[in-house]
Subunit: 452 residues, 2 copies
């Protein structure tokens, strides 16, 4: 039998990130200023981002060198293993070959440190003393807490108040790495105070937490803001996932027919698939890339390609992207990391141009797939990752039905240790399925675009 | 800088376990029958264990082949990485080199699957349809649940009732892998019913859960019992940890001066250290092996080397070991996996003969060490593992004070994702320290069943 884990040595690790903008037939339209609605320049972003990241945001270079300090820290968990899912294949009795890239081995338990580390690095280099951010489920906040501690910076995390109280494990995780975690809305910012005045018992929202984090960062010279998905430089940093996977598949003498990634803001899907899109866009490779989103928050599959705000309060730059509308409120599904109304502009443009595919799944079949996966491959997956597992299994079953070979690569974006309450709901039969009603999506989409 | 992770390929993985009994100057005294107090033979164990494991329990062979089916499953997470703790060394400003073997990468998050998998394998081979066991903190129950699912056997876990209610994450973990988890004491066994009659609100204990699990296994031909520590065959299976670490250190051109492992029933300490004791006992290697136990349950450092029961009810074989007395009730420290009154007879004999060392630590300095470790190396350690981290750091600081080189290897036995409430207690300053009073230990030691 061939190997179970295909490993790269540290010497074989990528030394540059891949920038898909160098190969795209159409680049996304520029971001707009939230007040003037005119295209923004680097100077507009300088209040909250360091210049190195702003340059990466607009770079046309295909390869951008990974700083040595970042490469050193990546070695704590990278190159991450690529698994051949022998036991899952056998259980499905499929002729398909299934590979998965496992990002749950990072100290935060997900792929998020891939961008948290370089973001902290570039901010430290720019003399910044503190980073602010928002977190919902807590995965991004966990990653940034570790990154800030590694670069001896303070970390201020606005955590959606309802999650702060319902997910104490994640809060404690961030505090263990020295972060200051504040339930949002809070009285520490003007926008928080306004929110509390109008609704003292507000459970908070990601949009409100973004507003608080950005407000603090914009006011203080020694403080910047950090975002865990959506932006171009985040997609860039996550390309290490796909670059490693390519090298590992080459070692195994294989190449994927289809790549599957879960998709919320887009960073995990982009990370695993963009380096293969390089082959597709420049060498005509036939590889398919499939983004899987929750049916409860179907941004690509049922949203609109338009300019929209990234936050509820409308204080961050307006992006051209697939969106469900900036006040879209997805139901409380367990894949908290996929509950975002918008989408990476790069992923959006590629989808609009027909270069990638997108599908949606409700959460019960995703958990069903995650349990099959756990019981065969052993690993307990994050609810976000379960979306990728579901579609990878579906692809394998289609190949079986068609009686054809198919090589499937999916990204297992994180482990599920801190998501066991959601497995409890599933195994005890209490998990609800959500499909978002057309009427509500139409209502929300009426407010688009916010320009023109 | 040298590598951060020293990896072995699957082809370089050990194909045999190491049996320290082949090299010990004195073997442990034989186990005694709990009723007759005469030495037991294989036939006495056959009601609850398969013959392959009984043979391993008494084998004098130095090397015992790892079955191919077990090797295949080990590949899901083995060989586990050996880390050079560059960032921790730098933070401590020590001339010592610190290596750690990370067992938290297993699907159960600890070293326990190393023995759960072969135990399930040998039972399956013997035609057994179901395994029973007890679990307190839940790590062992998690490992056995996965192992039973892999070999298509049922798994019945008696979980200490107070843990069942206080640690729902662990319960759900086991259920996700198909285990039947019953809070103990229960009305499903005679011993459980007796316990409930005398105390309907009993919180349960590990001793009671063992009695329930053994009772069920003894009654049914298709059901066996499985133990996650203490016994000789468990120490044997865990030797993969140290065998891999030896090969990895050889790749790094290094050899340890001191090996550190946390010690409850002894399986993690034995796993990492016994393969190096082979060098010490047969080739005169100068390596030290240090077992670290909690000051709240100081079996080796303050217990007695004597025959004692392994369970509270006194229905399992009497073992010659270091013990605090079979009704010793350690305080509710967070390192639940180290709260056992007894100790592996092999570890006990080696300690009695001066071949290994033992120290104890209270839990606050252990958590302090775990937080330093998390903030430098990134990984959140299990509370059990924090005992090894504490002493590894102490050794590194002693080396610094003495101005001497020292190569330290410790085993990071598991990750701490499911132990975040204990970190919460630490970071919020609420963690209590326990040192067990002499008078209570003396009292408990008066009740040993066999006196000579």
């Amino acid at each position: 039998m061939s190997e179970t884990k295909i490993l790269l040595t540290e010497k074989e690790a990528p030394t540059s990130w891949y920038n898909v903008m160098a190969d795209m037939p159409n680049l996304p339209k520029p971001p707009l200023h939230p007040a003037t609605k005119k295209p923004i320049g680097p100077e507009d972003l300088a209040a909250i981002f360091p210049m190195d990241l702003i340059k990466q945001e607009v770079s046309a270079d295909r390869w951008i060198e990974i700083p040595e300090e970042v490469q050193e820290i990546y070695k704590l968990w990278r190159p991450s293993p690529l698994y051949r899912a022998h036991r899952l294949e056998k259980a499905l009795d499929t002729p398909a070959k299934i590979y998965y890239k496992y990002e749950g081995v990072s100290p935060a338990g997900s792929h998020k440190p891939n961008t948290a580390i370089p973001q902290a690095y570039y901010n430290k280099k720019a003399g910044i003393k503190r980073l602010t951010t928002e977190t919902g489920a807590g995965q991004w906040g966990s990653a940034l807490s570790i990154a800030c501690k590694f670069f001896e910076m303070d970390c201020l995390v606005y955590m959606v108040k309802v999650s702060y109280h319902q997910k104490p494990y994640r809060r404690v995780f961030m505090q263990t790495y020295g972060a200051n975690v504040i339930p949002s809305p809070s009285d520490t910012t003007e926008s928080g105070r306004k929110m509390l005045e109008s609704d003292p018992d507000s459970p908070g929202s990601l949009g409100m937490a973004i507003s608080e984090a950005v407000e603090v960062a914009a006011q203080r010279d020694d403080t910047n803001y950090s975002l865990g998905s959506v932006l171009n430089h985040v997609m860039l940093h996550q390309s290490v996932i796909g670059l490693e996977a390519k090298a590992q598949l080459e070692k195994a003498g294989d190449y994927p027919d289809v790549i599957v990634g879960c998709c919320g803001g887009g960073s995990n899907f982009a990370g695993v698939s963009f380096p293969f899109l390089h082959d597709k866009l420049t060498k005509g490779a036939k590889v398919r890339a499939v983004a899987v989103e929750p049916a409860a928050c179907p941004t690509l599959t049922r949203g609109k390609f338009a300019y929209d705000f990234g936050d509820t309060a409308g204080i961050v730059p307006i992006l051209n992207m697939y969106t469900l509308g900036h006040d879209f409120m997805p139901p409380g599904i367990h894949a908290g990391g996929l509950r975002y109304h918008g989408e990476s502009p790069l992923v959006s443009q590629l989808y609009h141009d027909g270069i990638i595919e997108a599908v949606s799944r409700t959460q019960r079949p995703c958990f069903e797939a995650a349990v099959i996966f756990a019981q065969t491959e052993g690993i307990l997956a994050a609810p976000e990752s379960s979306h990728a597992i579901r579609v990878a299994i579906d692809e394998a079953l289609q190949a079986k039905e068609a009686g054809e070979a198919r090589t499937i690569l999916f990204c297992l974006s994180g482990n599920g240790y801190l998501d066991l309450p959601s497995y409890d709901a599933y195994v005890s039969g209490k998990l609800e399925d959500y499909e978002y009603p057309d009427s509500l999506i139409e209502e929300s989409l009426k407010k688009l675009p916010v320009t023109e």
